[in-house]
Amino acid sequence: MELENLTIAEAHKLLASRAISARELVAQTCKTIREKDPAIHGYLEVYENEALADASRIDKKIAEGESLGTLAGIPLAIKDNILVRGNMASAASRMLAAYTAAYDATVIQRLRAAGAIFVGRTNMDEFAMGSSTENSAFGPTKNPHDTSRVPGGSSGGSAAAVAAHECVGALGSDTGGSIRQPASFCGVVGLKPTYGSVSRSGLIAMASSLDQIGPITKTVEDSEILFDAIRGVDPLDSTTVDRAYLKDPKPMEHMVIGIPKEYFVGGLDPQVKEKVQDALRTLQGLGVKTKEVSLPHAEYALATYYIIMPAEVSANLARFDGIRYGLSKDAEKLFEVYAGTRHAGFGAEVRRRIILGTYVLSAGYYDAYYAKAQKVRALIKQDFDTAFETVDAIISPTAPTPAFKLGEKTSDPLAMYLEDIYTVTANLAGIPAISIPCGLSHDNLPIGFQLMAREFDEGTLFAIGKAYEQSAKK
């Protein structure tokens, strides 16, 4: 039995029919990690013993004839900014290098109740700030398709672990593209859900008006399975909305996909453009109609994002002050404890964003930067509202290029920020977006395309995505 390449749906069938045991599946996953992860470094820590014990408990329930859900016995990897009680959660920062989570994130509680098994915590850019996973305080993750290249970021460890079959599925978090861009670079599926559909209780916050937790998986079907398990209202996150999404919204021949004319121009790698257009032709072959749409403020999305996000970062990360938890640098005076701890604990990119956020919020600059950005954000949202009056989904590249070399962009923060150019708009508008693999570059590097839909319309993304995958398999 080939256990290595299983999807969640396939593994569930084998577990339910007792063709394999959860223990066998977890043992195989841990074996793959031992073989492959030294070259990839997707994981910061693997919980082999706990995972095997959890698997045995699931096997016992199956043996007793208990009917279990789709996720029972499935080995998952969790991004290191999501709290799992009793385990370390460092957000890949020196600040939290020795921090042990005192409670479970809501998504973890839900997955645990569904019988999922947590095999380890995955590497990321520090506090989810970066697009390459090179900003980790614990060393970079490498792309499984070419270890001289980055896996994308900030959920690079989760994306690499799924791509290398070091887990069956994973969770990441996405503030400006941190699930979708690494999914694109690693050739896997990544979903950023609608803002308000998944609880962030127990997610180490980056920018609270943008952050969402979402699945990174091998297929769109698996993405839907994981999303269904983690979504839904939670009293511990008052931004969550009690609103179900429509499954199988309408047949493919009634779907209309918008092609934003602003998105297929300057800065886009010709190979990425070609593969996204191939994907579009495949969708047209399924009967999907296409229509050109305009998102006139899309060109301002990245600038808007790089004001709002650092502003929220500067506020959220004020809590790391060396007093209640995490790193603490002792000094004579309280102020020196704060300032010394925050210098020692935060890496260069985190410090840069905190200072930038402090600047755009400070007296005299607030209106020119933060208030202005909030207004442009409203215009970006309006562009989408207008487009979605006539189309069901919007297609674009996920990232402007395939995976780049390690070190290629580390000395130039702006070049790194441009990686998010196609993804930040969905976060600013609060809409769901998915990245789906659509082929390989000349260098055999994965390329992904992005589909965006109306708020709480993940159903359209899954329907189109599954139809595309089936058609592309043939």
Partner: protein, 96 residues
């Protein structure tokens, strides 16, 4: 646009030590980022207000019922602090 003395002031406001040697590269990066985000000044936003938009929710209420104030055991939370005295987190003198 942003001066060297601004950096010192911002570092103070943000409670982060920025050593002398790091000021110049940080200043350079911030100038470039601010020039880039300055593009927004071109957008006409005359008719808009700056209220944050989210999910459209307002006045999210919870039942007025007794429940644990914390999701965790207080002893566990105290143990995470670098220094504590009984049930109090101990800090350096605020007035000095």
């Amino acid at each position: 646009m942003i001066s060297k003395s601004d950096i010192k002031k911002l570092a103070h406001l943000a409670r982060i030590d920025i050593p002398e040697a790091e000021e110049e590269p940080l200043h350079h990066d911030l100038e470039r980022i601010l020039a880039y985000v300055g593009e927004l000044q071109k957008v006409d936003t005359e008719m808009l207000d700056a209220r944050a938009r989210g999910t459209g929710l307002k006045n999210v209420m919870q039942p007025d019922a007794k429940k644990p104030a914390l999701p965790s055991d207080p002893a566990e939370l105290l143990a995470a602090a670098p220094d504590h005295d009984g049930r109090y987190v101990r800090v350096r003198s605020v007035w000095s």
